[in-house]
Every structure is written in structure tokens, then in C-alpha cells.
Symmetry: C2
Subunit: 402 residues, 2 copies
Amino acid sequence: MIVQKYGGTSVGSAARIRRVCRRIAAAVADGEQVVAVVSAMGHTTDRLIALAESVNPEPPARELDMLVANGETITAPLVAMCLQGMGVPAVSLSGLQAGVRTSAHHSRARIHDIRPDRILQTLEEGKVAVVAGFQGVTEELEVTTLGRGGSDTTAVALAGALRASACEIYTDVDGIYSADPRVVKTARKLSHIRYDEMLELAAAGARVMHPRAVEIGELYDVPIHVRSSFNNRVGTMIVGQVPMEDRQRVRGIAQEKNVAKITVLGVKDRPGVAAAIFEPLGTAGISVDVIVQNVGHSGRTDLTFSVQESDLKAAEKLVRVAAKSVGARKVSSAGGIAKLSIVGTGMLGMPGIAGRMFRALADAGINIEMISTSEIRITCLVSRDQVEKGVRTLHKTFELDV
Amino acid sequence: MIVQKYGGTSVGSAARIRRVCRRIAAAVADGEQVVAVVSAMGHTTDRLIALAESVNPEPPARELDMLVANGETITAPLVAMCLQGMGVPAVSLSGLQAGVRTSAHHSRARIHDIRPDRILQTLEEGKVAVVAGFQGVTEELEVTTLGRGGSDTTAVALAGALRASACEIYTDVDGIYSADPRVVKTARKLSHIRYDEMLELAAAGARVMHPRAVEIGELYDVPIHVRSSFNNRVGTMIVGQVPMEDRQRVRGIAQEKNVAKITVLGVKDRPGVAAAIFEPLGTAGISVDVIVQNVGHSGRTDLTFSVQESDLKAAEKLVRVAAKSVGARKVSSAGGIAKLSIVGTGMLGMPGIAGRMFRALADAGINIEMISTSEIRITCLVSRDQVEKGVRTLHKTFELDV
């Protein structure tokens, strides 16, 4: 049994739906039991949101979920009827019918539970189950949507609940690359990548898979095959352990351009100051990414952190209020920044990787504004207009070129 | 408590949805508990069907229901969020959430049962319940649609189940007229009409209300107020008993233009002949309307009946086969016919109405090809190019002019 997920681009037109169905039919002909998870066609979700905003500039989340869920429940029956037209028995299922139970957090619900009876019955009848992705229901049968990466999450969660042999994520790229191929011509497609590496790459700006889906894959040990819906090439397997020879030190380079930084200068070095500054941001739904606090002197320190540049204005306003309340000297901010990261489990316990990264950037004339690390990632904040040069430099430095 | 139903034209754009919501808000301000049943916006249903046919020329009914039900589940949250934007608490409900349980006949399901708990809870919370019309679910939670007149049926059935004081059907006409105002300039809007009169008028060609909804209204004694969504004028009340002074002999004139006739000549006058001819038509889903069989002579008779002209070709083919099997002499057919009917409970036990009708048509030079009657209706089949003249003639004859 396999779960296949087709994104909005893959089902963006009648012709593309037919192509998707030929692919599903081929899997059925190979003897597979197939669960196909589908997204809304092309820009349907955006159009529904625009419609909502035309009747209410701030549409309430519960009603917005009821509305946008239609995107996926339009695609699913189209795919099912197209399959039937090709002689492949198929049944479409809404999130409710597929047994996807979620929390009641509208527009960002979390899957609590999958009750796969109806899907299993459909498969036992020899039919393809075509499931509307991105949606579920609460215990009270309220319609919810899963937020960003929702259909991927549906697919991987179903694969976990059904103990499918794999979850195939069909998308508009060929797989996971050692760097963005639009930036680095010599980028290599990875045949395998570990869940944790993929999570770090996604957090560092690689947009192919949303971290939530990868986390569920890791939790239920579901192999995730990221591949193109436009060709038959093998893509990238996201798995728990990669083959030995793939365990090189650095696996991928990622960049993220929508970054700005805020610095609070002369903060008193005492408990509660950081909380006073970051709590209002969390309440306002503003994500803070890299945080650096220098060692202080004479009882004061400087605190710098990054936010999405699109959140900068709102964030700065909140921070100025908070900074005043904790007696900070000054708040400054700057946009035009980017994150540049190297990721790889092979880095663990390999000294010298960080030094090599900083040296290569320095030799390329790229100034590092901030540094942040995890066990398997090193991130530098650099000037946005230098980040692509930085990606190419590091790709070469760590011998990732084809 | 009132149920209001807004058709596809009334909710055809964001501006029209806002207008609908202002009307609902006015009812709420008047102290009413409101259940609003809404149809798909404008041509949404047609567009979804076209999309279906682009992936499967003969879309299976179960999947087509899954698909087209989205039309109404798009409108309902838009109306609910628009109301909220105006400060009127509101919740949208799908057919499933509203408790509309139906038979499993996809694309033409019948409502079996309404479980109104969720709607009642919504109303008790002081909120407007905005229900997606035209749809329901089976006991197995399969999505169904109700076929023609579906949203009207949802509205009247909900009004019955909730014991609402009235069901308001908002449409693009001002009410029920004594004749089609496009044909008869002097047609009068009726303040009241009986359920049975409305049923006969609908069967005779008046398209304002679908008979199913009227039947449910009669069964549960729900007063149905047919009125325009584009103005505030009072429309027509469909009720069990009309005020005494409205009980005139003839209440309305209706016409239906898409009519053709088939005649089977020289049929043996013995049991089973009519069944042999009509059974194949029923199996093929072709509705037969007026049927006339003359008194036979020398053991043979002629049988004439009408069908929709759009069904004529298919019907004639079936009838030729059947006619041969029962030894009929000949089959002939003709299109270009129309039905012209007068309807009114006041006709009961009033002799001379039929004679007056036939005389008036004769004086106007209109030939009557067939006649059929019920207790409260007389229908003549006439040439299509004479039917509008006939409507005007009868409107005058029976003193219905303003």
C-alpha cells in the first residue's frame, strides 16, 4: 500500500488531473493499493480567500476554514471520476469521511487521530481512495484546515496510520537538492536524506517539504519519497538512516531571504528581560528566529534577533514598548538580511566545519552579521545581496558540486 | 423563528451577498431567529459540472454530488462571515452539520429526516444559522444532492422540522402572478395562493417554485412566502387556505412551451397495451405528461400523449418498437406544441368554466389539439405560436387583469 500526495500545481487543470490519474492508474496496474491525497487546484485557495475578504476584511477563522476546505473537496471527486473514466475504480473522501480528526485550532489545526476504517474498506473493495488533503474535522464535526504544509501532513499522517510502505510527495521539483538549483547550477539531487537533516534544511529555508509532515514521518517511520509529478525520475527518499556513503559531512546549503534583525542595546543583565521582550511578539503571532545575546559588561548586554522582514514593522513597534519598560538604552533594526545555512548529520563531532565555513565566506568578501548553530546546522546571517554568492561558495567549499 | 432561502442569483456576487446579509440583519433586528438557506453563487454549479465533464464525459453520480455540493458550502461560510462583519453572530452549516439526512439516490436524493439539534443550538446561542441548501448526507455520511428545486426543498423541510412560523423564498421575481408578466402586461401578483393551486401551476409550467418544496410545505403546513430579494415588497403567501375574497374561480394561467405529441394509431383495445407503450418510456427516464385515449371503434383506438420536445426523438424511437409489438397501425409525432392551463380551486363545482375557456380560445382562432383536466386545472394543448395569445385571451376572459 502506498500513499501519494499531489500538490496544487500537479492538479491545476483538467489536463494535469488526467496526467495525475494516469500515474495513479500505473501504480494500480503494478498491484499497489493506492491512497491519493490531493490539494486544491492551482490558485483556488487564494481565490476563495479573496472572495472571503471581499465580504469581510477579517474573515473569522471558523468560517474561513469552512470556505477554503472546498478547494480540496473539489479536487478529490474530480480525480476520482477521472480515474473511473479510465476504468480504475475510485472513491473520493472528504477529511471527515477519511477519518482525519483534528484539534479545534481553525486554520492551523493539528491532527489528533486518524480513523482509517472508511479508507481501509475502500481499499479492500479494490478501489483507489482519493482523499481531500489539508482538512479534517473536530469531534463535533467542525471543519478545520491544517495550515501550511497541510496536504503533505495529511498524506504522511495517513501513511503512518495505514502503515503504508511509503508516502510519495509529488511536487514541481525533482527532489531535495544539495542547494537551490536556481542558485547553484551544479547542485546535486540527494538520493536520500535523514528526517532531521530535512527538518533543519526546511527551517533554514528549503521550501520543498513542510517540517510538520517530516516530523510525523520521523515519528511513525514513514519513508517519504519527494519526486516530480512531471516526470518519472526517482526523487529523494526522506528516511531514518541514509546509506553509509551518503553520510558526508555537509549535506545541503539553504538560504532564506525574507530576514530582518532587531537589536536591543544596553539591556540590563537580569532575569526576565528576554521574556519581557519576546512574550509580546509571541502573543502577536510573530516568529522570532535566530537569537543572539552577547556576554554583557558593566551589568548591561545587547540582544539581537531576527524576524521575517514582512513582520519587521509590527515587531519593532512591540519591541520599542517592551525595551522601554525594561530600561534598555536603544532599539535599532535593519532589513535586507538573509540566512545562509549548512546542514548535515555528518557534521556531528567533526571539528573544523564551522571554521571552514567562516573562512570560505571571509575569502569571498562576505561579512557575517550573526551566527547560530544546532547540532547538525550552522547558520550565518549575511547581507541579502551576498547570500547567493555565499551559497555557491559553500557548495564548492564542502565539495557538493556534481 | 423564520427560515429564509436565497437562490443563486440573490447570492451571485460579493455585493449581492452583502445585500442578502443586510436583509437577514434586519430580520434579526426585528427580533426574529433566522435560519438562512443558501444556494450556490450564480453559475458555480454549471461551472463545476463543466469541470467534471472535462475529466469524465459521464461523471458518476456519487462523485458528481461530492463535487457540486461545494457550490453551497462555498456560499454558506461567505454569508456567515459577512454577517459577522456586520456585527450579527452567525454560523454556517453544511447539509451534514444541519442534520439533513437523505436517501442514497445521488443527484436526486429525497430528504428522509432532519435532525435539527445543531441548528437549534445555534439559534439558542443567539446566532443566525446559515445552511448550505441542496445537499444532505446518507446514514453512511455519503454526500448527496437533492436535484431540481433542491434549496427550496431544504428550506421548506427545515421550516417544517423547526416548526418555523414561515419560510421565505427570496427569488428574482416579486411573487406568483396570475400569468407570466412577460406575456401578460396586466398580470396581477397574487397575495395568497393555496398549496394545491401552486402545485398545479408549477406542473403546468409556472417555474417560480418547484413542486417538491410546495408538497412539503403542504404536508407540514408551512406558510411559504415567495418574494423578491431585490426589493422589500410583500410577495405571495403559499398557504392552506386563502382569504375568502381571493377564492375566485380561476386563479392563474400557465403555459409550457417545450411540448411535443406522439400519437399511436389503431391500437387494439385490450388490457396491457398502454403499459407496453409507457413502461419503456419510464425506464428511459422520459416523463409523459398529458395522455388522451379516445373511445375506440371496431376494437381499435388511438392513443395520444405529450412529452417534452427535447425528449421527442428518444421517445418516438421507443414508442415505435413498442407500437409494433402490440400491433398498432401507425405512429406519428409532432413538435411545436404548447400547454395552456387555467388553475384555481374556485373552479371546483363551478360548471361552465371549461366551456368558457374553449369558447374564448375558439373566438381567438386558437385550435385545441388535446384536452386534459384535474379537479382544479384545465389544460389545452395548442400550437406553440398561439400560446401567448391564448394566455392573454384567457387572462381577460377570466377577469384576472389588474
